[in-house]
């Protein structure tokens, strides 16, 4: 297991190097002087032209492009992600401040949609053609077709502005707030964000379950005379689960993309709104670094999916 994971991680290195190169290219292409985002702006303001040039020389900004890239990459590995050109705050600090909110939001949405997606999907497969199946398939269609932000707007309109039972946005993350106290703030954005993933998982779980239910081993299980629930849930669901896990892994990037929009809609102070603001203000270093980390996250999650599938399906060898 450990060697398998290590091999997977190592296989990602060339890809990450290439992407980091593209990211650095993006940062370099940005209009303006590179010094602007390598030195805290308050220090920059007091410097003279000679000082600046000396600074450039000592920082290696006059080096050839490739050398500069390698130095930047070295810094990256030591946690130096550069500075936001808007506020001069280190990117690392910004990310650290905004990350918990995003993790809270996306993990809640992910858990919600995995659990309910599989549950509803399996239910509809077992009751294929029934009313409940049709209702679920309608919900599934809606989940795929309604733009997420629109669903967010409708929910804010209904639950916050008219019914007044949930806050319209924000997170209330001040010190000493427990998770339960924050729950009303989290509820709407997480459910809206998870809705389309739930729909996707549901449709997929349904078809995967139906496929599994038509297999020969289901008949064998029935011929053995074991109870129907055990036939369906153990033999059917257990086998149907592998492709569903793969799908959830595949859809994770969409969840991250969705978080960008949903955080904007609900004024959720996470990486997503940080990112959108950075794009709006042409804050290239910040945009690029967030992009870089989103790729890292996607690739790591793909490794996790690989490991989980190998764990679920004995036919996949871990070597």
């Amino acid at each position: 297991m450990a060697t398998y994971t290590l091999r997977k991680v190592l296989s990602l290195i060339p890809m990450m190097l290439f992407i980091s190169f593209l990211i650095y290219l993006g940062i370099e292409l940005m209009p303006g002087d590179a010094v602007d985002f390598l030195i805290p702006p308050d220090a920059l303001a007091t410097m003279s032209a000679e000082q600046l040039n000396a600074m450039r020389e000592s920082l290696g900004l006059n080096d050839p492009f490739l050398v500069r890239y390698l130095k930047w990459l070295g810094g990256l590995l030591q946690g130096e992600f550069g500075y936001s050109i808007q506020s001069g705050v280190p990117v690392a600090t910004l990310m650290k401040n905004h990350l918990p909110a995003t993790i809270e939001l996306t993990v809640t949405a992910l858990v919600f949609s995995s659990v309910f997606g599989v549950l509803f999907g399996v239910l509809s497969a077992l009751k294929k053609g029934s009313l409940i199946d049709q209702v679920f398939s309608l919900i599934g269609m809606a989940g795929v077709a309604i733009p997420q932000f629109l669903l967010g707007l409708i929910c804010i309109n209904a639950f916050a502005l008219h019914l007044n039972i949930l806050p319209a946005g924000g997170r209330m993350a001040s010190a000493g707030q427990s998770f339960v106290e924050r729950l009303p703030y989290l509820l709407m954005p997480a459910l809206v964000l998870g809705f389309s993933l739930t729909a996707g998982v549901m449709r997929y779980a349904r078809s995967s379950m139906l496929d599994s239910m038509g297999r020969d081993y289901m008949k064998t299980a029935r011929a053995k005379g074991i109870p129907e629930w055990r036939v369906n849930l153990l033999h059917g669901l257990r086998t149907a689960l592998t492709p569903v896990v793969v799908l959830i892994g595949f859809r994770l990037p969409m969840l991250i993309g969705g978080a960008v929009v949903i955080e904007e809609v609900f004024q959720w102070p996470g990486i997503g709104s940080l990112f959108v603001n950075a794009v709006r203000s042409q804050n290239t270093p910040l945009v690029m670094m967030i992009g870089f980390f989103s790729v890292l996250l996607v690739l790591i999650s793909s490794i996790i999916v690989d490991i989980v599938t190998a764990f679920l399906d004995p036919r996949i060898k871990l070597s």
């Binding site: 297999r215 008949k219 029935r222 011929a223 053995k224 005379g225 074991i226 592998t242």
Partner: protein
């Protein structure tokens, strides 16, 4: 008076399938008795209703199908159980399956669940029919069962997954599973079609042995006349949802009475008869099940067909002791029987 050796008795069974908003009359009055320690073969072309017959007995018919009329009696532990009246997924039917009657399938590679170990899948049957009290006991029994089936290193093999088994070994494991509760009836639906010929002989040998040790009645579905000649005590030939001829294997193979049986036998090359042998293919093909002939189902392809054959399906005639045929022109007529 019922023969006390009869284990399963099927009488005038009609089964319809309702797929795609159409009704397919798959079984149109099938009757036969299965006796203790007997191997009964059902032969026929694909789509003639062999597997449906087997599945009806096991209560494993697909969702969109039902038994329209007729009866299936299962004589088990001194009781007469009407299988056709049991709920297919009900408790009673479930308790019969696996313990009273068991089934093995055509493709052992797909019939075992790929994500569970072979041992686990055998244990399941043992635990649910109270053959084993504890998991440990079940494990030991599973090992013993695999050993009985002639699988080497059973201790290790129980912990392996089906994909690590060869086709023949999978089928042995399936048989181990089926025989785990010593059933009275074993239904084998083309158990060797997907296997190599050499493996085929081993599997049949195993089945014969089990039959003799456990008094099991075996219903063997096949389309291979060679298998019939080798194993069968009695044979039922099916065509388009009817048993057209049944009787002792010897009688059927040597003196077929129904034109279809004869045609079937004439279309098979016989080993050792050399290149010169004349093979007679059956002309035409099986009719569309949604657009069946009115009378005898075989009439359009039958060289002996007359006007009479096109109007009605002939009834069951006993043409000699234990030999039934459904034909107006049974071929033994001329022999004075």
């Amino acid at each position: 008076m019922e023969n006390k050796d009869v284990v399963v008795s099927v009488k005038d069974l009609h089964v319809n399938f309702y797929n795609n908003n159409r009704c397919n009359r798959v079984l149109r009055g099938v009757s036969f008795d299965l006796k203790k320690r007997d191997i009964m073969c059902i032969v026929g072309e694909s789509g003639c209703g062999k597997s449906v017959t087997a599945n009806s007995i096991m209560g494993l018919l697909p969702e969109l199908s039902r038994i329209e009329s007729g009866s299936i009696d299962f004589y088990y532990q001194g009781r007469d159980i009407r299988i056709d009246r049991l709920k297919r997924k009900g408790k009673e039917m479930r308790e019969l399956r696996g313990s009273g009657m068991a089934m093995i399938f055509q493709d052992p590679m797909t019939a075992l669940n790929p994500v569970f170990t072979v041992g686990y899948q055998i244990n399941e049957a043992l635990m649910y029919h109270n053959q084993a009290k504890t998991k440990k006991e079940a494990d030991q029994m599973a090992v013993q069962l695999l050993k009985d089936m002639g699988i080497p290193l059973p201790q290790q093999r129980v912990k392996e997954y089906p994909h690590q088994f060869s086709g023949g070994m999978c089928q042995r494991a399936m048989i181990a599973m089926a025989m785990s509760c010593r059933p009275k009836v074993l239904v084998a639906d083309e158990p060797t079609t997907a296997l190599d010929v050499t493996i085929q002989a081993q599997i049949f040998e195993l089945m014969l042995e089990l039959k003799n040790n456990n008094d099991t009645a075996i219903l063997l579905i096949t389309h291979d006349m060679g298998v019939v000649a080798e194993l069968a005590d009695r044979v039922a030939v099916m065509y388009m949802g009817n048993i057209v001829e049944s009787g002792e294997a010897r009688a059927i193979l040597t003196r077929p009475a129904h034109p279809y049986t004869k045609a079937l036998l004439d279309s098979i090359p016989v080993l050792g008869r050399g290149k010169g042998q004349k093979l007679e293919p059956i002309k035409g093909s099986t009719p569309d099940p949604y657009n069946r002939p009115k009378g005898c189902q075989f009439a359009p392809r039958c060289p002996y067909a007359t006007k009479e054959c096109e109007t009605a399906m002939p009834g069951e005639q006993t043409i000699e002791e234990g030999h039934m045929c459904r034909c107006f022109h049974n071929l033994l007529k001329g022999e004075g029987i």
